[in-house]
Subunit: 326 residues, 2 copies
């Protein structure tokens, strides 16, 4: 490469679950150029329902990047219709997991591509491309991993806990079924390798339900630990509460104080920097005492401007950490 | 039974395919009392599509009896929406077999019930009941039978021939895959046994594509042949043409003159009486020379009044034959 050649743009690998994570991913997509962003998606929430392979986090990421996600719910499609679901309920079929008419096509098509022998990675790539999404969204693994929620009443499949029982049961533990046999998807490993020029970002998805399954796929955590890239997280907890979803409730049930300090402690093995909300600025010193740098920002993403602003803050923070690291 | 007890109402077993047959079934439903009518449906058209078990003739019968069939097409549901199908096409999925949003619920629910271990008979009973249909609709067999169309270009699965290729390829032969291993469904046998008090009716469905698969299930033809019930058919051919569908084309391709005489000859093994259209009255003597009684009627069913009128003619004809037989 000639010295006059511009340095290639840095690459970012983003670990994400669904709704909360997808917001930051959308912001990053706005700020970064084509080819700079790759997403590694949690598949621990995946399950088979009505004979169809459902990948809720992958779909939320694709729909969000395509600009067709339902802004009210965070999942599913905007302007969706429910003819199928209503008819299924009328036939005595299960209607606790709502599949809209157009969303259903995603799952039917996914089933078909998997049945044809495509990996989940290839299937996801094709679905994303059909939606005009060219940001790579990699399943953490092409091997099935199934998050199981342990409760006083016995183990529950994740969607049973999360959707059917609306996260009401008290969690006594978590396991990621199949995790020992799982291997990182080739795309996930390649995305982490490429991020050596930029950063690895943990979105404000639920650490236990969305990020830990990814980190638990054998090989992923080691790859992150040994990466030259700074590892930056955005706290999903603001002032002791979750922006959305059951994160704070789950933390309390697991005996963990819901605070940014707990988030920092949870990720401390791999984390270089944590973005916390302005409302949590009092915690900065305690977190830095753990050897984790802190950036304070508004982390609540209400609209696209918030997403873009937070994405820019995260990228600037990562860039400063790179400079300090090298 | 005391001599003062009224004689139980006669029972009718009706062999039917989809569209043409369903019209007569709807007429019979109007004329007969609860419990007098049972339908034995062709399942040779069944196939798996998008991972779903599709039973086109069963569904057309149920939807027709429920009064929710699409009157324009004869298949599918009235007031149907196509959000799923359009989205699937957008994702690069196959859209040659049109599945409406509400119709799709039938196939998803059927898959679920079969996966739970229900027979096709039990699955069909539950789907029918969910639609408020209490006329028993029995699959000819709970074992899969798949009609294969032989063409110059090689064998075609039935729906590939019929829907994807719109019945254009020239047929050189037909086979009913799996027929040797198939057994009549218990309901089909019970319906034929019950019909000893009434009649066995062959609807004007396509003899080769819809009725023959039923008659070819080992045991069904023998049961019909040895039944005390008169066996009455309505000709699907009027003045050398089919009312709807590819019957006449198929007959020509198989080297059979499309005429009511050919229909009579085709069924002569089992037939006691044939209802032919007024336009074919010139053929009466030739058919009666085969030992088959003839009733002349309007057989073209344009509206509900036509269906009811033809049903009544068929029943009256069968009653006269019973009297003559005994």
């Amino acid at each position: 490469m000639s010295p006059n050649h511009p340095k290639p743009a840095p690459n970012y690998a983003v670990l994400s679950g669904g709704i909360g994570g997808a917001k930051l991913v959308v912001g990053l997509r706005q700020v970064l150029a084509d080819g700079q962003l790759q997403v590694i998606a949690n598949t621990g929430d995946d399950f088979e329902h009505l004979g169809l392979p459902i990948s809720p986090d992958i779909d939320t990421l694709i729909y969000s990047l395509a600009g067709i996600a339902n802004p009210e719910t965070g999942w599913g499609l905007r302007d969706e219709s429910w003819q199928f679901m209503d008819a299924l309920a009328g036939l005595g079929g299960p209607d606790w997991f709502r599949l809209g008419d157009r969303d259903l096509a995603t799952h039917i098509r996914r089933r078909e591509l998997l049945a044809q022998g495509c990996t989940l990675s290839e299937t996801t790539r094709r679905l994303a491309q059909a939606h005009g999404v060219h940001v790579p969204v990699w399943p953490m693994s092409d091997t099935p991993v199934r998050t199981v929620v342990e409760t006083a009443g016995g183990p529950l499949e994740f969607q049973d806990y999360f959707v059917r029982q609306q996260a009401q049961p008290v969690i006594t533990g978590l396991r990621y079924g199949g995790i020992e046999a799982a291997r990182p998807s080739p795309g996930a490993l390649q995305a982490l390798a490429a991020a050596a020029s930029g950063a690895i970002i943990l979105t404000p998805s639920n650490p236990w339900l969305s990020i830990d399954p990814i980190l638990s796929v054998p090989g992923i955590k080691a790859t992150i630990s040994t990466s030259k890239a700074p590892v930056v997280a955005v706290s999903p907890i603001v002032k002791g509460a979750a922006i959305k979803g059951p994160t704070a409730k789950l933390m309390r049930e697991l005996g963990i104080e819901p605070s940014v300090l707990s988030i920092a402690a949870h990720y401390r093995d791999i984390l270089d920097g944590l973005v916390i909300d302005t409302q949590d600025r009092a915690q900065q010193d305690a977190i830095e005492d753990m050897g984790i740098r802190v950036h304070i920002s508004n982390t609540v993403m209400r609209d696209l401007a918030d997403k873009v602003a937070l994405a820019q803050q995260v990228l600037d923070f990562a860039t400063r950490m790179r400079a300090a690291k090298s």
